[in-house]
Amino acid sequence: MLSFVLRRIGVMILTAFALTFVVFYMTNLPPNLEKLAKSEASVRMDDDAVASWLAENGHTGPVLMRYGEWLGLLPGWTLTAEDGKVTGRCIEDGMDPAAAPTRCGILQGNWGYSTVFKATVSDVLARSLGATGWLMLWVMIVMVPSSLLLGVLSGMREGSRTDRVLSTFAITTTATPEYVSGVILIALLASATAGISPILAEAGWIEGKTLFPGTATSAMDDITFWNFFLPVMTIALYGIGYIARMTRASMTEVMTQQYIRTARLKGVAFRDVVMKHALRNALIAPFTVIMLQFPWLLNGVVIVETLFNYKGFGWTLVQAAGNNDIDTLLACSVVAVFVVLVTQLISDIGYVFLNPRIRLA
């Protein structure tokens, strides 16, 4: 077991290095750097000026070396100008070059400076991850119980009418990506001209023009049912269908097992068969699926935060990518890669713990 976990962690670290290097390489391609130089210094620079700006700001070394500097494994670059002034990656304005640390990368906690948000990347990340954390928490609270319930209900009697209805619902939600369900939900519930809001407003049942607000910006300060319902439902709906289908498949398989039949023939009530004999075994497979759902949630978060203008992690990523904010984009991808890899690890290890039949070499 221990060697399995260690090997998995080893592969994970290797993957993390490879992925971050790819992102670093792609964000530091020459055209991107040129754009950065023009946006930071002056739009009307000619090619020579761009080249010298890049050289002065340490963007010219070999990619691997710059990657090492960014990680904090290699010492940061320093440059002595003609007038004797020393600048460098780790030397802030007005700092004594001798006192500056030699290495300053993300391993030392230096994530860089965001050119879009005009703040250090760690501040930007902390704020946006906090916002997204609340969103994810509520999505999980809504998604996991309801999808497991749906899956178990439809899987316990395969082919029944309940099963047909619930399966149709599940397959419909899996066919509805977030940008579609979000748009439909807004049109139904948060539009002044369509859906149910005009009817409710006319009847005097709601105070404003719409039942739900069409954005979740106000949820940044104060989360309420009204401003959080639509974004949470939009993300959760897509996942509900998928997890419910997995749970259903696993439940139907368990229900055909010998021990279920034995329990039924013994005269145990159907309720008790489901609750005591089938449920635990049926929930092993969905556990993995739920964990592997996290990377998907990340996608959903990006779309939903853009759609509802909720300034969390996804929104930050889109802003950073759209405005060539290299440091922020790199930091966002580190977080995303980290989330994906950790959930994969947890799902692997959790699977082994839940399922005693699996033995690892």
Binding site: V11, L14, T15, A18, L19, V22, V23, M26, T27, L29, P30, P31, N32, K35, I171, T172, T174, A175, T176, P177, Y179, V180, G182, V183, I184, I186, A187, A190, S191, A192, T193, A194, G195, T210, G214, P295, L298, N299, V302, I303, T306, L307, L317, V318, A321, L329, C332, S333, A336, V337, V340, L341, Q344
Partner: protein, 388 residues
Amino acid sequence: MEDALSWGSILARIAAQLLPVWVGLIAVFALSIQFKRRLGLYGRIFDSPVGMTGFGLVMFWVFTAIFADWIITHDPLGQLSGMKNIVPGSPLADPVEGAYPYYLLGGDHLARDVFSRVVMGAREVLKIAPAATVVAFMVGITLGLPAGYFGGKLDSSLSFLSNLVLAFPVILLFYLLVTPEIRVTGIPIVLAALLFIFPVIFLTILFNSRFFTNPAKRNLYVGLTLLFGLWAYSGLAFNADPLGVWSMDPNMLNVFVSVVFVNSPGVFRIVRGMVMDIKTRDYVAAGQTRGEGPWYIMLWEILPNARGPLIVDFCLRIGYTTILLGTLGFFGLGVTPESPDWGSTINYGRRLLAIAPHPAVVPAVALMSLVLGLNLLADGLREESMKD
């Protein structure tokens, strides 16, 4: 000025406009149900109501894409004055002789006809999604077969690479891969050169392993494959087709390559897993004892026996690709602003959702119904192929 149409007459007019689609659907269903016993797995779709519904939805959009030129009521890029964000069923503000007198599903933020744009959008989506899925399958199969069959170092390194791509959040990858800047660096062309060679390799090995005992036939098939394959390859990947038949818009190439790149590791994993299962069967051992080559066993004995799950996955994956294309459009990546594809139409429509929801809702429902159709079709196929 005439009154706006009621919803009933809007639907009736849309149905009338879609006439070629209905004719096509009825023809396909009548023929297929008539001969369903002779059509193998395809015919058995018509035994399951779920599969039939899915097939119907998919074919509806396929026919819509094919007959799009006859169905549309207005030029999908044409802007008519006074029709901005107008509600569905509105008559034209200043009717022109010969022009269709209504905007059936309203106008968008640039006063274009939503109905015609959705119909044309179907063509955009169905042009890319199936083709990208086919290429992704060829890449996945060509790499997955040897990885599962030989195992060892080859398997571990290919699996590591595929896990690498799978661990990448899709949206981040798109933001890195589909930008105007990246085209300057030539990375899409490198990726295209890498990915588009796989169909050629796949078909070459396929025919070579089957007919290498019969050189005349082998030379014919392999020669034809290489001729056409490399011809198309030079045009599509490098835009260097000497005859100028095959070419791809750089924007489109970028989108296409990224979608294939994201999809192929998934296919690789499925194929690899199935090969590892099937290669323990007796008929594979029998083939090995007879002295059949590894590629013959992989391509002509293992692959046909893995077709059921692969066909199901193919349907699901076209749906997934459609969702991905929509995501790209939604973030405005790799598409031209006037493109009628569903994703970018939703993107432009969503900004005005509170006032005029129809420009976003119509393509949203269209995209949902196509993906739903593909999922239902996959479900039906899975059920029917399980009965074997």
